[in-house]
C-alpha cells in the first residue's frame, strides 16, 4: 500500500473515531437531559398528588445547573412552601431569585412563604417585585390588598386592588371577587360613591352574593336611604343567614334608628356566630342600654372591651412578627391570643408558622394537636 494511501486510511479512522466519540457524548448528554427532565416531570406528578417529600427526592437528583436545574430549584421551593417547611423554602427560593432576579414565580412563592410566616414586610417587598416583573397577574395585587387591609393601610389596599381590577386577563368570577374587595376598601375609607361604582362593575354576577348586597346597603345607608339599606341587608341575610358583615350592619341600622329590640336580636346572633366580633358586641351593649337593661349592657361592654384589647394585642404582636421573620415565640403568642378569641382557624395558622420557625417548639406542637 502506498504511503499516501496508508496515511489517508489512518486519517479516516481517526475521523470516524472522533465522530463516533462526539456522537456518543451527545447521546450521553441527551440521555442525561432526558433523565433530568423526566425527574422534573415525575416531581410535577408528585406535586399534583400532594406528595411533596417524594417530589423533593426527585428534584434533588436533578442538580442546580441549567434551565432544568433552575426549574427544579423553583419546584423544590414550591414543595417546601406547600408542605409547610417555610424556613427551608425561604432559603431555596431566595437562592432562586438571587440566581434569576427576573423570576416572577420565584418571588410569588417567596411572598406566599413570607405571608404564611407572618413576615408581612418581606411578603410585601416580594409582591411588589412580582408586580414589577409581571403586570398581567392580578394575584399579587390582591394579596397586597389583603395584607394592607390587615394592617389598616386602607389607601394602599385600595391602590393595590384598583391595580388588580384593571387586569382583564382573569376569569370573571375572580374579577368580581376583586371588585367586591375593592368596594369593601372604599366603604372602609368612607368613599361610598367609588364603592357604588365598583359594585356596578360586577352587578352582572348572578346570583348576587351576601357581600354584594351588604356593600350596597352600606352605600345606601351613607346616603340616608334607611329603608333601601334595610331591604338590601335583609336580602344579604336571606342569601347567607350567617353573613357576619350583614348582621353587623343590620344591628347598627336598627340601633341608630331607634329599634333596640331588633338590634339586640341581630347583634346577639352576630356575637353567637363570632364571639370575637367586638363591633356587634358594642352595638349589643348600646341596645341593652336603650332598653334599660344595664347589667346586660355592662357585661357586653366589658366583653367588647376585652375583645378589643385582644385585637390590640394582636396588632402589636403582628408588628413584632413582621420585624422578626424567624421568631417562633412571637408566633406562638399570636396563636394563643387567637385561641382566646375563639378563632382556632387563625390560631392553627400561627402555630404552623411558629413550628416552621422552630420545629422543636413543643408548646406549639401540643396546641396544634386536635
Amino acid at each position: 500500500m502506498p504511503l499516501a494511501t496508508k496515511k489517508s486510511v489512518r486519517l479516516l479512522v481517526c475521523l470516524l473515531l472522533v465522530i463516533v466519540g462526539i456522537g456518543g457524548w451527545c447521546a450521553y448528554l441527551q440521555t442525561k437531559s432526558r433523565t433530568r427532565k423526566s425527574l422534573v416531570e415525575r416531581a410535577r406528578a408528585c406535586i399534583l398528588r400532594n406528595e411533596f417529600d417524594q417530589a423533593i427526592n426527585f428534584l434533588n437528583q436533578v442538580g442546580h445547573d441549567g434551565e432544568t436545574g433552575f426549574e427544579a430549584v423553583l419546584l423544590s421551593g414550591e414543595c417546601l412552601v406547600r408542605s409547610g417547611q417555610l424556613q427551608e423554602a425561604v432559603a431555596v427560593l431566595s437562592y432562586a431569585v438571587e440566581r434569576r432576579p427576573d423570576c416572577a414565580d420565584g418571588y410569588r412563592w417567596l411572598a406566599a412563604c413570607y405571608y404564611d410566616l407572618g413576615a408581612a414586610t418581606q411578603a410585601v417587598a416580594c409582591l411588589l417585585r412580582v408586580t414589577d416583573l409581571d403586570q398581567s397577574d392580578a394575584r399579587p395585587y390582591r394579596l397586597l390588598g389583603k395584607i394592607y387591609r390587615d394592617f389598616k393601610r386602607i389607601d394602599d389596599a385600595i391602590e393595590a386592588l384598583e391595580s388588580a381590577s384593571r387586569i382583564t386577563r382573569i376569569d370573571q368570577n375572580t374579577q368580581a371577587e376583586i371588585l367586591l374587595e375593592l368596594a369593601q376598601g372604599y366603604v372602609e375609607k368612607g368613599l361610598f360613591d367609588e364603592a357604588r361604582g365598583a359594585l356596578v362593575k360586577c352587578d352582572w354576577i348572578s346570583p348576587k352574593s351576601s357581600a354584594w348586597h351588604t356593600l350596597q346597603a352600606e352605600c345606601s345607608y351613607a346616603d340616608h336611604e334607611v329603608e333601601t339599606a334595610t331591604r338590601q341587608v335583609r336580602q344579604a341575610l336571606r342569601i347567607g343567614p350567617n353573613h357576619q358583615a350583614a348582621l353587623q350592619l343590620l344591628a347598627r341600622i336598627s340601633l341608630e334608628n331607634d329599634e333596640p329590640n331588633e338590634a339586640v336580636e341581630i347583634a346577639s346572633r352576630a356575637v353567637q356566630l363570632r364571639p370575637d366580633d367586638h363591633k356587634s358586641r358594642h352595638v349589643l351593649s348600646r341596645a341593652y342600654r336603650q332598653l334599660g337593661m344595664e347589667t346586660d349592657a355592662e357585661r357586653e361592654e366589658e366583653r367588647a372591651q376585652r375583645t378589643r384589647q385582644l385585637f390590640d394585642r394582636l396588632t402589636e404582636l403582628s408588628k413584632s412578627a413582621m420585624d422578626a421573620p424567624t421568631d417562633a415565640r412571637v408566633r406562638l403568642e399570636l396563636a394563643k391570643v387567637w385561641i382566646e378569641l375563639g378563632r382556632d382557624d387563625m390560631a392553627a395558622t400561627w402555630l404552623r408558622a411558629s413550628l416552621a420557625c422552630d420545629p422543636n417548639l413543643s408548646e406549639a406542637r401540643d396546641l396544634l394537636r386536635p
Binding site: 389598616k152 386602607i154 346616603d223 340616608h224 341608630e256 363591633k279 358594642h282 351593649s285 342600654r289
Partner: protein, 576 residues
C-alpha cells in the same frame, strides 16, 4: 361646496364640544376625597346646572380685615416634639363691649438652646366696625409672651361686664382680667390658677350653680424633654403618637366669687387617669338644668362628667354612649361642638377625630344617652383621610338649620394615611339630621386649597348677620373668611346677659318659635378646639319675617319669654 364646508364646520364644533363636555364631566365626576383635593359638585349643583352660579359662600377677608398673624410652633429646631403638633386657637369676643366682635389669636412658641421652651406673643385685634381690624396687643397689655401657648377661652368671670381671657399652654396658664378701659391685667397667681400641666382647651361655666363662672382646663400628655422618645415615620424622624406618652389629669377650678379660684378637681370627682384632653365643652346633656362636662380625649375614651349637684360629677361617657365610636373604639378626638341637629330640642354632640376615623356625631336620645349616627347623618361620606381639629356649628345660609365647618391638617411630617396639609370641610344641614358636603367651588377659594389648620372660631365679624370664620394655621398666616352667602334668609342674633345667673349664662337654652317650628340654641361653654366662638346665639329664619316667641331658660332656673320680636338685628335679652 358651501354646504360641505358648513357640514365639516358643524361636525368639528360638535366634536370639540363633546370633548370639552367630556373633560368637564370627567372633572366634575372626579369626586376624589383626597384631603388635598376639593370636593366635586354635589348633587344639588348638578340639578341646577342651568342656573347662574352664585358667588362663593366664603371669601378671603384677610386683606380687608388686616388681621395678619401666624401661630409658630418652633419646628425649625428639629426636635419633632409632640408639643409642636397641637397648634393654636382663636377667640372671637367683644372685649370692649362696642358691639363689634374682636379677634384674639394664640401665638405659640419655640425652642432655645439646651432644650429650653419659650413663648411667642399672642395677638388681639380690635374690630373697628368698618370691616377692618387694628392690632392692639401691646396697648391691651397682652404683648408679654409668658409661655408656649395653645388655647384661648373668654368669659366675664367676675361678672363686671367685661370679657376676661384665659390662655392655656405648656407649663402654665394665664388669666387676664379685663379692666374695661381697653387693657388687661394678668392675675393668674392672685386668682389661684396654679396650673402647671400642659393645658389645651378650657371652658367657662357655672358648674356648682353659685352664679359664678367656674373653669375647666383640659390637659394633654406627660411630654417633656425628659420624656422625649425618638419616633420615626417612613424611616424619617417624626412627631411621636400620643400613645407614647402617659395621660395627665384635667383640672377644675371653682370661682370663689371674689376674683379667686379654688382647685376643686378632687372635690368634683374628676380624677380619671386615662385622659389625654384636647377639647372640652360644657352643656346640659340630660335636661336637669345642670351643666355637664364633655371632654374630647386623644386616643382614649372621651369623658362625659354628669353633674350630680353640689359641684360633684360622675363620669358616664360609656353609659351615655359618647366615649367610643360606633365600633366601640376610642378615637383620636380633638374638637367638639354642640347643636340640636334633628330639631328635637336636645343637644347633639359633634366630635372631630383623627385620620382613618370619622367625625363622630352623637345624637341625643332625649337625655337618656346618645347614639353614634355619623354614617346616617352623611358625615362619613367625605372619607376618612382628614385629621380634624377646630369645629363650629353655624347656620351660614340662615335657613334655620345649623351647618358645620371643620378645620383640618395632619400632626406628623410624613403621614402614611393622608397628607400634611388638608382642605377644610363645610357641610350643609337639611334640618333633619342630615348633612351634605358643600363643594369647594361653592364654598370659596379657601376650601379649594390645603392648610395646616388647628383652632377655628365662628362669629359675625362685620355685623351683617352672617356668620364668618377665623382659623389658626400652624406656621402660616391665619385665615379670616367672610360669609358672602347669597339669598341668605332673615335672622335674629340673641345676646344673653345673666343677672342671677352668671353674666355669661353658660347653660342657658333659647327656644325660638317661628313659622310653626321651634329652633333651639345653647349657650355653650368652651367648644371647638383651643378656641372660643362668638357667644351670641344666631337663629336663621329663612324667608320668615316674623318671630312669634323667644323663651330663654336661664341656668338660675328662671325663664324669660318675649313675643313679636324685631328681626335682622341683634337683640340683648337680660335675665329678670
Amino acid at each position: 361646496m358651501q354646504t360641505r364646508r358648513i357640514w365639516i364646520l358643524s361636525i368639528g364644533l360638535l366634536a370639540a364640544g363633546s370633548v370639552s363636555l367630556s373633560i368637564l364631566l370627567l372633572r366634575n365626576g372626579d369626586s376624589s376625597l383626597d384631603p388635598t383635593k376639593p370636593l366635586g359638585k354635589d348633587k344639588s349643583d348638578r340639578a341646577n346646572l342651568g342656573a347662574p352660579k352664585p358667588p362663593p359662600m366664603f371669601a378671603d377677608f384677610i386683606g380687608q380685615s388686616q388681621i395678619r398673624f401666624t401661630y409658630r410652633n418652633g419646628e425649625e429646631a428639629n426636635h419633632y416634639s409632640i408639643l409642636e403638633s397641637l397648634g393654636g386657637g382663636v377667640a372671637i369676643l367683644d372685649y370692649n363691649e362696642d358691639g363689634n366682635q374682636d379677634v384674639m389669636l394664640a401665638g405659640g412658641g419655640g425652642f432655645g438652646d439646651g432644650q429650653t421652651i419659650h413663648g411667642l406673643p399672642n395677638a388681639l385685634f380690635r374690630n373697628l366696625g368698618d370691616g377692618s381690624f387694628e392690632e392692639i396687643t401691646e396697648f391691651a397689655g397682652l404683648a408679654q409672651p409668658l409661655f408656649y401657648s395653645h388655647g384661648l377661652a373668654a368669659a366675664d368671670f367676675d361678672n363686671d361686664g367685661w370679657s376676661d381671657l384665659l390662655v392655656t399652654g405648656y407649663g402654665r396658664v394665664a388669666l387676664y382680667l379685663n379692666l374695661g378701659d381697653g387693657t388687661f391685667r394678668e392675675v393668674t397667681i392672685d386668682a389661684g390658677l396654679t396650673d402647671t400641666g400642659w393645658s389645651t382647651s378650657a371652658a367657662w361655666g357655672d358648674l356648682n350653680q353659685d352664679g359664678n363662672l367656674d373653669l375647666y382646663i383640659a390637659h394633654y400628655v406627660n411630654w417633656s424633654f425628659q420624656n422625649h422618645p425618638q419616633c420615626f415615620s417612613e424611616g424619617r424622624p417624626d412627631v411621636c403618637s400620643p400613645r407614647k406618652f402617659g395621660p395627665t389629669k384635667d383640672s377644675v377650678y371653682f370661682n370663689q366669687g371674689d376674683g379667686s379660684f379654688a382647685d376643686a378637681t378632687v372635690h368634683a370627682g374628676l380624677v380619671l387617669e386615662n385622659a389625654k384632653g384636647l377639647g372640652v365643652i360644657l352643656l346640659d346633656v340630660d335636661g336637669d338644668r345642670k351643666l355637664d362636662i364633655y371632654v374630647a380625649n386623644d386616643t382614649t375614651d372621651n369623658h362625659l362628667y354628669r353633674n350630680q349637684g353640689a359641684g360633684r360629677f360622675e363620669e358616664v361617657g360609656r353609659i351615655f354612649g359618647v366615649a367610643l365610636d360606633n365600633d366601640g373604639v376610642p378615637n383620636g378626638s380633638m374638637g367638639i361642638d354642640v347643636s340640636d341637629v334633628n330639631n328635637d330640642g336636645w343637644p347633639d354632640i359633634l366630635v372631630t377625630n383623627f385620620a382613618r376615623e370619622s367625625q363622630a356625631l352623637y345624637r341625643n336620645q332625649s337625655g337618656r344617652g346618645f347614639v353614634h349616627v355619623s354614617q346616617l347623618a352623611g358625615l362619613m361620606a367625605v372619607g376618612r383621610s382628614f385629621v380634624s381639629f377646630g369645629v363650629g356649628f353655624l347656620d351660614f345660609d340662615r335657613d334655620g338649620a345649623e351647618d358645620i365647618f371643620i378645620a383640618n391638617g395632619h400632626v406628623v411630617h410624613h403621614p402614611t394615611d393622608s397628607t400634611v396639609k388638608q382642605r377644610p370641610l363645610l357641610f350643609r344641614s337639611n334640618g333633619q339630621g342630615r348633612f351634605l358636603p358643600v363643594s369647594a367651588s361653592d364654598a370659596g377659594s379657601y376650601f379649594e386649597s390645603t392648610h395646616l389648620a388647628r383652632g377655628a372660631a365662628v362669629g359675625d365679624l362685620d355685623n351683617d348677620g352672617l356668620i364668618d370664620i377665623c382659623i389658626s394655621h400652624t406656621n402660616d398666616s391665619c385665615a379670616v373668611l367672610r360669609n358672602n352667602s347669597a339669598h341668605a334668609g332673615h335672622y335674629l342674633k340673641v345676646i344673653l346677659r345673666g343677672k342671677s345667673s352668671a353674666r355669661t349664662p353658660v347653660g342657658a337654652v333659647a327656644t325660638l318659635e317661628v313659622a310653626g317650628k321651634r329652633l333651639v340654641r345653647f349657650q355653650k361653654g368652651g367648644g371647638s378646639y383651643l378656641s372660643q366662638h362668638e357667644s351670641s346665639l344666631f337663629f336663621g329664619l329663612g324667608e320668615t319675617d316674623r318671630v312669634e316667641r323667644l323663651v330663654v331658660q336661664w341656668p338660675s332656673l328662671r325663664e324669660t319669654a318675649l313675643l313679636n320680636l324685631p328681626i335682622d338685628r341683634p337683640l340683648v335679652v337680660t335675665e329678670e
